[in-house]
């Protein structure tokens, strides 16, 4: 208790509070601008933290991290160009909602849910970090495979009536995920003896291309007779209590899923957002509305990714194993002060750990305010006519694709996927399944192959496991239900026609 109080004093010193507030604001800004992101921001800040008190420096870094995880959603909602990978899914429903004139509401839900998800994971983390870490370690390849597969099967529900088309889009995504150097054997796959594709298809340029560039091309083709949507004022409105209550199960479920996936080493907030979205679809009463701009479609991934951001701190602080790209950078922040995160730090410097927990809690609240400010700033873009905004988005998209790894190859990938996205829209194929398959395909493939090699190709090892087996069973059941439901609906449709 004493340690908690001392840490509380630590965090509520003027300097620390200022750093946290500044960090959260900087994080949101970095996240919101395509091409900049929080791993980059934290890496840039580490030299500055050298001159600070260790605790203050680390609080600053974690605040940037919390803010950056949300910030990407602003540009995802407003322009369909996620400013950070974590926000990839937010655009699925966020952009359609913004397009229908409710950008302020979409932003409000995103901010509120990010905050709630973040707070949830921080509370869980500060109560049962060590226990959570041991749960994370019990996950092995079969569990990762089951998780990826569970999310992949939801492709079937995402296409609405176009199940076959969704399936085809998913297959294209899976195929694209196999490009590059094979992570198990180091063989080159589909690289056509060139260097460009050796690194595989980075999903962010692919996503930006398929969604944003595809959309610009479609709009350009339709002609710019429309003078843009009549958006004159975008004021970010936080959801009312009653609206939040309607979303309570989505938020709670996503917060739990996000925290759990966040603590898994090396999976991170992006995958969490995809899984959270998939689960929201699975448990929803109206799965067919996802992708059209509904509140659940924003609440689920936003709660998940910020919960995962907190979750990722668990393996970092208890085992020294980073759960995501940014936490890997934060290790560097510990090292400039001669500390290494891990079990010993928890024993030797518990005060620092508790200060960090409290700082993350405070950062999530500051994020709510800085999110509002930055969102307001960015939403001014929506007032611009599409004939001007469209080319601007094009520029954001190019910079965003380039900024991921400073490579022109990513820009070409973005353009290629822009054409693919355009063609898919034209022929009425859903794009979300393509992206989901591209993101989760690698995890599914590699965890299956690695797991089979570890088990000497004995499949029973994959099935008869408490966690992995349960997830697989649930997946199978929902898959059968989905297909059964579709077939039944179709036969009803045929019946009513013949009658």
């Amino acid at each position: 208790m004493e340690i908690w109080l001392a840490s509380l004093l630590n965090v509520f010193s003027p300097v620390a509070l200022m750093l946290i507030a500044g960090g959260a604001l900087a994080g949101v800004m970095l996240g919101a601008i395509p091409g900049l992101n929080s791993p980059m921001g934290t890496a840039l800040l580490i030299p500055f933290t050298f001159a600070m008190e260790p605790a203050n420096g680390l609080m600053l870094l974690t605040a940037v991290y919390c803010g950056g995880t949300f910030g990407g959603s602003i540009s995802a909602i407003l322009f369909n160009v996620p400013g950070a990978p974590e926000a990839s899914v937010t655009g699925f429903d966020g952009y359609p909602m913004a397009k229908s004139g409710k950008a302020g509401k979409a932003l409000g839900i995103a901010i509120m849910c990010s905050c709630l998800g973040g707070l949830f994971s921080v509370i869980v983390m500060s109560l049962i970090s060590p226990q959570l870490a041991s749960v994370a370690l019990s996950f092995s390849e079969p569990e990762y495979f089951a998780l990826a597969l569970a999310a992949l099967t939801l492709i079937a529900s995402l296409g609405g009536d176009k199940m076959i088309k969704a399936f085809i889009a998913g297959c294209i995504g899976l195929l694209a995920a196999t490009i590059g150097i094979d992570p198990m054997t180091s063989a080159e796959r589909f690289t056509f003896d060139g260097d460009a594709l050796m690194g595989g298809i980075n999903f962010i340029p692919a996503l930006i291309g398929a969604f944003a560039v595809g959309e610009i091309l479609m709009t350009a083709e339709a002609g710019l007779k429309k003078t843009g949507e009549a958006v004159t004022k975008v004021s970010t409105e936080l959801p009312k209590i009653i609206e939040l209550l309607k979303l309570k199960w989505t938020i709670l479920r996503s917060a739990v899923i996000g925290t759990m996936i966040g603590i898994l080493p090396g999976v991170g907030a992006t995958t969490a957002a995809f899984v959270g979205y998939s689960e929201a679809v699975r448990w929803s009463k109206h799965p067919r509305k996802f992708g059209t701009g509904i509140a659940e479609g924003i609440a689920a991934p936003e709660t998940c990714n910020n919960a995962a951001a907190g979750g990722a701190m668990v393996p970092l602080l208890t085992l020294g194993i980073p759960g995501s790209a940014t936490t890997a950078v934060i290790i560097g922040g510990f090292m400039v002060h001669g500390m290494q995160p891990g079990p010993m730090l928890f024993i030797n410097q518990p005060g620092l750990m508790y200060s960090l927990f409290i700082a993350m809690f405070v950062a999530n609240i500051f994020m709510l305010f800085s999110g509002m400010i930055v969102a307001k700033l960015f939403s001014n873009f929506r007032k611009i006519r599409y004939s001007i905004l469209g080319p601007c988005i094009f520029v954001f998209a190019t910079v965003g694709a380039f900024g991921i790894s400073n490579s022109m190859v990513d820009v070409w990938i973005m353009f290629a996927f822009g054409l693919i996205g355009y063609a898919m829209k034209k022929f009425d194929f859903p794009i979300a399944p393509l992206i989901i398959a591209l993101v989760l395909g690698e995890l599914a493939e590699i965890s299956l192959r690695r797991g089979m090699r570890m088990a000497d190709w004995d499949i029973s090892d994959f099935i008869f496991r408490p966690i992995g087996g349960t997830i697989l069973l649930l997946t199978l059941i929902t898959l059968l239900f989905t297909i059964y439901g579709k077939v039944k609906r179709k036969s009803k449709f045929v019946d009513s026609k013949t009658a």
């Binding site: 994370a136 150097i181 260097d195 090396g266 560097g332």
Partner: protein, 326 residues
């Protein structure tokens, strides 16, 4: 008392030695270099061992070289992406590449050609390989591990980062020397290998001690062998490879290179400046904390270049043995 003549002689000797010292110490500053920021390209993600190495060395180097030094992480394709970027820049010493053992392996695979692409700058670190087991494992020493592996051929699972990597090479060379048959399960990122052994899913971890120090101190990972010619002061109870009769002391080295064709005076000047950065306390403190001071790692451009060639030959031999190349 000294007479006037001996004063003259003495001062002459003094001046000559001063002159020699200067001409050796400070490679002459090339005209007009540096006149723009220098970019260092790291082919691994921010926060990893190589990234930390570059950042910690460049922090003092900025002041010494008197220019901004920007670090760019360009991950993917075992460093080929980053290498291609560097090769597309002019050979003027403003783009520096984090040259790692992977580049030699890529050359053996035909993906890169280090001899024609890069000129050596400096090697800075010579890290050490160690093996670790879970404290709950049936074997807690390397002898017990070997005995167990002989009884259960093909059962013991080693893990390290990426296939055909320096990690796999050292594991397989050890297995051959010890006469055991083991499995190698690679992960794409080092933290996942730590988690797999901590969780008891895989048996033996290969890693440099710096990145798992906290786990070793908390006794969550038990080090069983260090690939070195002597035991480490930090872990006096852990046997070294040479005392056990395995002549394996290779470990990951970290160094820098520039595009081939960069003028030699510029190379020498950067190398001399980096040497000063290397000696600064801020770098040395980091090196000490990450146990990178156990083996002297500094190599000058010429030495580093020779080292590439000998390393390349031995890498080729092992890759052939493993069946990766013909």
């Amino acid at each position: 008392m000294l007479n006037k003549k001996s004063y003259v002689y003495l001062s002459l000797v003094f001046m000559v030695s001063l002159f020699i010292a200067f001409s050796v110490q400070a490679a002459e500053k090339p005209e007009g270099y540096p006149s723009q920021p220098i970019e260092v390209v790291v082919q691994y993600g921010a926060g990893g061992g190589s990234d930390n190495f570059v950042r910690n060395l460049m922090m003092p180097a900025r002041r010494i070289l008197g220019t901004a030094i920007n670090i760019t992480n360009m991950t993917g394709a075992a460093g080929v992406k980053a290498a291609n970027y560097v090769l597309n820049q002019p050979a003027d010493g403003y783009t520096i590449y984090n040259f790692s053992p992977e580049q030699l392996i890529n050359t053996a695979f035909g993906r890169q050609n280090y001899k024609e692409e890069f000129a050596p700058l400096v090697q800075v670190q010579q890290d050490m390989s160690m093996f670790y087991v879970n404290p709950k494992a049936e074997y807690q020493t390397v002898q017990e591990l070997i005995a167990y592996a002989k009884k259960n051929p093909g059962k013991v699972q080693f893990t390290g980062t990426t296939p055909a990597s320096p990690d796999e090479l050292i594991i397989m060379r050890f297995a051959k020397a010890a006469g055991i048959d083991v499995k190698y399960i690679p992960f794409d990122k080092a933290p996942k290998t730590h988690a797999a052994v901590l969780g008891g899913h895989l048996d033996v971890l290969h890693e440099e001690p710096g990145s798992v120090m906290s786990l070793i101190e908390a006794k969550k990972l038990i080090p069983i062998i260090v690939f070195n010619d002597k035991r480490l002061d930090k872990f006096p109870e852990v046997p070294c490879s040479v005392e056990l009769g395995y002549n394996l002391t290779t470990g990951r080295w970290r160094g820098l290179a520039v595009k081939k064709g960069t003028p030699q005076p510029i190379i020498d000047y950067i190398a001399a400046s980096l040497k000063k950065a290397y000696e600064k306390s801020s770098y040395q403190n980091y090196a000490k904390a990450a146990l990178l001071d156990q083996r002297y790692g500094w190599k000058d451009p010429a030495e580093f270049g020779k080292f590439w060639d000998t390393e390349y030959e031995s890498v080729k031999v092992v890759l052939k043995e493993l069946g990766y190349i013909k």
